[in-house]
């Protein structure tokens, strides 16, 4: 379904696998997300969905296989580097900066990308040269950083301008997520649904090109879920994102995703459109057990079709 017209894949996993002391948590995981994609990742509890997220975002390094973000191989890169390449995520168990205000939560993510002395392009060019040049680029970037700290300490006009700009952007994001009225509220005092939305706002603050949502609807009621579906679609358009959603709620996943990957015991057992996945025998077995098919012949028939 994802049209080739959407361009190069922004996030790509090629046979990514990870083992924890003999436990194969993820095996030969493949995925491609392009701009405008809205894909789902489902599977029963413990299937390795969150592990897949962690491998994609660099929390774990894959034991074999590769992950590419915007064309760059990111195996072994630190999560913050991968994030800077354009991959942002939310967490299954909300991980907001609890004592910070909603605004500051977003502002942390809206890191200033200015490079006060040596421009980002020049550094990138040097890094491409490799070897000693890459080292030099690191040195120059360190100088950038040093200079930037001084700007912050001396309240340089340029720094103040950037701060204002950051704040404005963060406020916009809060507005998009309908959280403007919570601007100065500490994150831990927000109601559950708003915390989830704040996490998304924070993720958007990093200017992602691909957004990974880990159970965004967990704990929401039907109405909130419906709103969320609309919101996710809107975000995709507004920020030209590719989105990957982990979700347990079948209705939500089937309702918004154009392509779904199903994991079980770390293995990919099905890939395809919602209709195709829903009818997949292996998927039904994984979710409901073999016995379900035996006792419910109509489901088995549907699966066979």
């Amino acid at each position: 379904m994802s049209a080739a017209a959407n361009g190069e894949p922004l996030l790509q996993a090629k046979d990514a696998s990870i083992e924890f002391g003999g436990l194969k948590a993820l095996q030969r995981f493949n995925l491609e997300i392009r701009q405008g994609d809205l894909q789902g990742l489902i599977g029963p509890n413990g299937a390795g969905k969150t592990t897949a997220f962690n491998v994609l975002t660099g929390v774990y390094e894959p034991t074999s296989g590769d992950v590419f973000v915007c064309g760059q191989r990111v195996n072994g890169k630190k999560p913050h580097r991968i994030n800077r390449l354009g991959l942002a995520r939310t967490f299954q168990n909300i991980r907001l900066f609890r004592a910070l205000t909603a605004l500051d939560n977003v502002r942390v993510a809206c890191l200033s990308e200015s490079r006060p002395v040596f421009s980002a392009e020049r550094l990138a060019a040097l890094r491409r040269e490799g070897g000693a040049w890459a080292w030099m680029a690191n040195g120059l970037d360190a100088w950038n950083n040093y200079y930037d700290w001084w700007r912050a300490l001396l309240l340089a006009p340029g720094f103040l301008r950037e701060e204002e700009e950051l704040t404005r952007r963060a406020e916009q994001l809060l507005e998009v997520m309908g959280l403007s009225h919570r601007r100065d509220e500490e994150a831990r005092n927000l109601p559950y649904g708003e915390q989830r939305r704040l996490e998304i706002a924070r993720a958007l603050g990093t200017r992602p090109r691909v957004l990974l949502l880990d159970e965004p609807a967990a704990g929401m009621n039907t109405r909130e879920k419906a709103d969320l579906m609309v919101l996710i679609r809107r975000l995709r358009e507004q920020f030209s994102l590719g989105i990957l959603v982990i979700e347990h709620d079948m209705k939500l996943v089937m309702g918004i995703c154009e392509q779904i990957t199903v994991l079980d015991h770390g293995e990919t057992i099905a890939v395809g459109t919602p209709e195709k996945v829903r009818a997949d025998r292996k998927v039904i077995e994984a979710y409901l057990g073999d016995s379900y098919l035996e006792t419910h012949p109509e489901a088995a028939q549907e699966a066979a079709r």
Partner: protein
């Protein structure tokens, strides 16, 4: 003086270029006046200097322990590096003066240079200690910083050039109230401005949730090391100042006990609250002095005052326990003094930054 450190306290009508320096100008004036008016009371100057050094230590440790949420219990080690570096430099230039300026000004200039050198030396060590924080979290880091502090002490103790166990004496006692409190001011200013900048928000984020911070593009390792470097720079400056008003510096002055004193100040004031650290530093430094004065006034029996002195250390320990149980966020939590003022006073926005 302290309040003027907050950028928000500076009126917005100032032109943009002046906002950065205005508090400094105000502070310099205030300090010059304090220096002038305290000229005749060495005891006051001495106590004020000790208070000032403890303020610098507490505020700087708060950058690591409070804002970044790492837990360092080896702050005295950095202080030692600063004290010995600055002390050695001042000793080397003890008989030198800048031509054409009054001796007093020349002394202060050399003091400033040796303080900067002391701070830089300590920052270098801070970098070295910060490196393990790339791999360690929480309690392990705490023990490692303790270990580093002790190792620094043992090194000094075994180095004859640094006076070994006797200590380094003869350092010109050029420290002044002005210089000490100028550095208190600078430390507070830096701490507050960091807290209000994007860098500071990154530190807060690490404190709140390291994994999430990393996922949001914060280079957590780099920021942790930087917070160590900044914090130890000021600890080094504090040590340098210390060396210039204490006639002899000795490795035992920079042991685990000193580190713990600073930790108690930061924890009592509230991890993350700069003004809290200052309030606690001032209170805990003046407490024994106040007690001594009280005992001298009310009783001629010196034994009672001694008991009060002795009991200080165990009380610090108990204070930590009671604080953690009853008020783990400390006196002010992550807020500043003006956030907890009575309601009828104008308040600042809630939250840490």
């Amino acid at each position: 003086m302290v309040e003027s450190a907050a950028p928000a306290a500076t009126p917005a009508l100032l032109p943009a270029w002046a906002r950065g320096v205005t508090p400094v100008v105000i502070a310099l004036g205030a300090l010059a006046f304090a220096q002038w008016s305290s000229g005749g009371s060495p005891f006051f100057v001495y106590i004020a200097s000790v208070v000032g050094v403890n303020c610098i230590l507490a505020v700087s440790l708060n950058i690591v322990n409070g804002m970044t949420g790492q837990f360092s219990i080896g702050h005295a080690g950095f202080m030692a590096v600063g004290a010995y570096t600055a002390g050695k430099i001042s000793l080397a230039f003890a008989d030198t003066a800048v031509a054409g300026v009054p001796v007093v000004a020349s002394d202060q200039l050399f003091l400033l240079i040796s303080l900067l050198a002391g701070g830089t030396g300590a920052a270098l060590f801070g970098f070295l200690v910060g490196l393990p924080s790339l791999r360690l979290r929480g309690d392990y880091l705490a023990i490692v910083t303790l270990g580093f502090g002790e190792i620094i002490r043992v090194i000094v103790q075994n180095t004859p050039a640094l006076g070994a166990a006797l200590g380094l004496s003869g350092i010109p006692q050029t420290s002044t109230l002005f210089m000490v409190w100028f550095w208190v001011f600078v430390t507070v200013l830096v701490a507050r401005r960091i807290a209000h900048s994007s860098h500071g928000r990154s530190l807060w984020a690490i404190r709140e949730d390291e994994v999430a911070a990393e996922a949001m593009g914060v280079d957590t390792t780099a920021y942790k090391v930087r917070s160590f470097v900044i914090s130890s720079f000021f600890a080094g400056v504090a040590g340098g100042l210390f060396a210039h008003f204490i006639p002899i510096i000795n490795p035992n002055s920079f042991g685990f006990v000193k580190s713990m004193e600073v930790v108690v100040m930061v924890v009592a004031g509230g991890l993350g609250s700069t003004t809290g650290a200052i309030v606690a530093a001032v209170a805990l430094t003046l407490l024994p002095e106040g007690l001594r004065t009280a005992f001298n006034a009310f009783s001629s029996d010196p034994a009672l005052a001694q008991k009060a002195d002795q009991i200080r250390m165990p009380i610090y320990g108990l204070l930590l326990v009671v604080l953690m149980l009853a008020r783990p966020q400390g006196l002010f939590g992550t807020r500043e003094v003006w956030d907890v003022l009575p309601r009828w006073l104008p308040r600042r926005r809630k939250g840490v930054a």
